[in-house]
């Protein structure tokens, strides 16, 4: 198919022409057969009328009523004709007699002779109906065939668009490869080229963005590490030399550098876990074991703040996922809970399985008794670089505003869901992550 328009126009015209003409021919043939039968019937009636004339007393039923008047006297009448004149008017007229409505024709060829012929109107209408119906039937019967063929032709013509749309909808978020179709019609060709060009530009842009963010973060990492070491050395030197720092400039500087390091670390992680870039290596893993490892990783900090942490629920929860990404997810949630909870606070992790919409879901709930988040900010906290209360967060904790954005990306990557709510403690935040098993 080179052109959709040409294909549709030519095939539909051909179909309409063929079906209409064949229907017309069938109508013609059927009407001719009926008309032939009609004429044959007239011949039969005429023959019967004439034979009756020569068979006195015959009461054979005829389709026609016939009267012959001569000098005002009825000299002949057929069985159906009354004894009185069927019509007084010359030519065609309609009258009632013998319990029927008749179409009557009166002719007076000479002053002495009058012939009156009548035919029941119902019979005439019946015969006319037969001829008309015979001519209409083929046209009416061809309509479903036309509808079926139009449906087939239009479906066939639109199949390249359907294939194009199916290819687009089956593409994964990170699949920017060109769409390839066989037998592309002219109308779709430009659209396909433009779409593929767009995909190519998008792939380039993503690649550049990915490389840029990664390169910048990587390039900043080394000087920041050097800066941290130098700051640490300078701080030690100040202490040894007895230089006082009443305004805490050194501490503020160290905190700033530490925050910048955390930010760069998170940017690199965000880049790695972005669903558009990340190629998940799914494997069967134990989420409960993974949670235990994360708790162990964070335990020194939790212990230093004299916080309580407990892991409730299932001891083993097997699911398919990317180990690195899920570990990062749990780590960010536990880290946030610890960071934003006060000294002596409580953190709780709970693992369970739920049946939802004929599919089993792993449920991970992380909650703390920290200050929590106002419900109106629940959606915003997933935005990149968004921090509740801005840089002046009441906890004074160093953060980049990327932790929950990374968590959300990982959940999306695993086709799961994440929701925030009030903690079961008297205050605090409850994060619920649902991951399909």
């Amino acid at each position: 198919m080179r052109s959709l328009r040409r294909y549709l126009v030519t095939v539909l015209i051909a179909l309409f022409t063929l079906i209409s003409f064949v229907a017309a021919l069938q109508s013609y043939k059927q009407s001719a057969i009926r008309a032939e039968a009609l004429f044959d019937q007239d011949l039969q009636v005429l023959a019967s009328s004439l034979s009756q004339q020569y068979q006195a007393g015959s009461q054979q039923e005829l389709g026609l009523a016939l009267q012959v008047w001569q000098k005002g006297e009825l000299v002949y009448r057929s069985a159906l004709a009354p004894e009185t004149s069927m019509s007084e008017a010359e030519g065609f007229s309609e009258h009632n007699f013998a319990g029927k409505r008749w179409r009557v024709f009166r002719q007076t060829p000479t002053d002495l002779l009058t012939v009156i012929v009548a035919q029941p109107l119902k019979q005439r209408q019946q015969l006319a109906d037969e001829v008309i119906t015979a001519s209409i039937y083929p046209v009416v019967l061809s309509l479903p065939l036309q509808a079926l063929l139009i449906w087939l032709v239009v479906s066939k013509a639109l199949s390249p668009i359907k294939r194009f749309s199916a290819q687009l909808s089956s593409k994964k978020a990170n699949d920017l490869s060109p769409v390839e179709l066989d037998q592309v019609p002219a109308e779709l060709d430009q659209m396909l080229k433009t779409t593929n060009q767009l995909f190519a530009r998008l792939a380039d842009a993503f690649e550049r963005e990915k490389r840029f963010a990664s390169d910048v973060a990587h390039e900043l990492r080394t000087p920041l590490s050097v800066l941290q070491v130098n700051l640490h050395n300078a701080s030690q030197q100040w202490q040894r030399s007895g230089i006082s720092d009443p305004e805490g400039s050194m501490l503020a500087l160290q905190a700033g550098v530490e925050r910048m390091s955390a930010l760069i670390e998170q940017i690199m992680l965000l880049n790695r876990t972005n669903p558009e870039h990340f190629q998940a290596r799914t494997e069967q893993l134990d989420l409960a074991g993974l949670c235990r490892q994360v708790v162990a990783d964070w335990y020194p900090q939790i212990d230093s703040k004299q916080q309580q942490i407990e892991l409730l629920g299932l001891e083993h929860l097997s699911l398919k996922g990317d180990a690195f990404a899920l570990r990062l997810l749990v780590s960010n949630l536990v880290g946030n809970a610890s960071k934003y909870s006060a000294v002596g606070g409580s953190i709780q992790l709970e693992l369970s399985i739920e049946q939802s919409n004929e599919q089993q879901q792993a449920i991970l709930v992380v909650q703390d008794n920290g200050p929590g988040i106002a419900p109106e900010e629940y959606t915003r906290v997933f935005d990149r670089f968004y921090r509740v209360g801005g840089d002046r967060h009441q906890s004074g904790t160093i953060g980049s505003g990327l932790g929950l954005a990374i968590v959300r990306d990982i959940v999306v990557l695993h086709q799961g869901r994440i929701s925030l709510g009030a903690s079961d403690f008297s205050s605090g935040l409850k994060v619920t992550v649902e991951l399909p098993l």
Binding site: M1, Y7, T10, V11, I13, A14, L15, T17, L18, F21, V22, A24, L25, Y28, K29, A32, K156, Q183
Partner: protein
């Protein structure tokens, strides 16, 4: 009568329309050249036959026209075989094959239209009948073209089969004329399928135009048909292998 005109136009044009549609699928990339190569010799041959029809029909003991038509049918078959065998000049040979068929159908139609004693056909009958006949023939050709294109796309080797059937049909028509002229011995009648599928029915009519369906074929016709079909199918298979 209207119906006679329609049937006459269909009988003469439908085989040509089907052959042209098949050839257009074959030579799709150079269809304009095919149409041009077909049109010029068609007009020339039709003019010659029409102008000399009386003289031609008087030749060979009054069998001139029948024998000329037989020759044109056989030429059509031979040209199709040659087109399939050698790619060189295939387009021109295909166009000439279609032109042979056109000149037969065209001259028969001219004869029908201008024949004295056409009183039973009113001008309205002729115009309407020819419009219906041409319309139906052209519509079937368009649908046939797209059906063949679709089959070709699905890599079904139907093209060789259909072209071979079309070529063998021309030989069938030639053999009928040669038997009628006593130039070919008919032999015994092999079967009778008139009751099963009449040549006058719509399907019989279509099959007759497509593959030369005959309800009562004779032995010589069947032998010739099978031989020519096999030959052309072999040529087409060779052509497809070369591709």
């Amino acid at each position: 009568m209207l119906i006679n005109t329609v049937l006459m136009f269909l009988r003469e044009l439908l085989p040509l329309c089907l052959l042209l549609a098949t050839l257009l699928v074959w030579h799709r990339s150079v269809w304009r050249s095919l149409v041009l190569y077909f049109a010029l010799p068609s007009v020339l041959m039709l003019s010659l036959i029409s102008l000399q029809m009386v003289w031609i029909s008087e030749q060979l003991d009054g069998l001139g026209l029948e024998l000329l038509y037989s020759f044109l049918y056989l030429s059509c078959f031979v040209l199709l075989c040659l087109s399939a065998l050698k790619a060189q000049w295939a387009l021109l040979r295909s166009a000439l094959a279609a032109a042979c068929l056109f000149s037969i159908g065209g001259s028969n139609l001219l004869l029908y239209i201008w024949l004295p004693g056409q009183a039973e056909n009113t001008p309205a009958d002729l115009v309407l009948g020819s419009a219906l006949g041409v319309g139906i023939g052209a519509s079937i050709a368009v649908l046939w073209y797209y059906l063949l294109s679709e089959l070709k796309q699905w890599r079904i080797s139907s093209f060789a089969l259909l072209l071979s059937l079309s070529g063998a049909r021309q030989v069938m028509m030639a053999s009928a004329l040669l038997i009628q002229s006593d130039w070919l011995v008919a032999g015994p009648q092999l079967w009778q399928t008139e009751q099963l599928l009449s040549e006058q029915s719509e399907l019989g009519f279509f099959l007759q135009a497509l593959m030369g369906y005959e309800a009562t074929p004779s032995l010589s016709q069947v032998l010739l048909y099978v031989l020519c079909f096999t030959l052309l199918f072999w040529c087409c298979s060779l052509m497809e292998k070369k591709r």
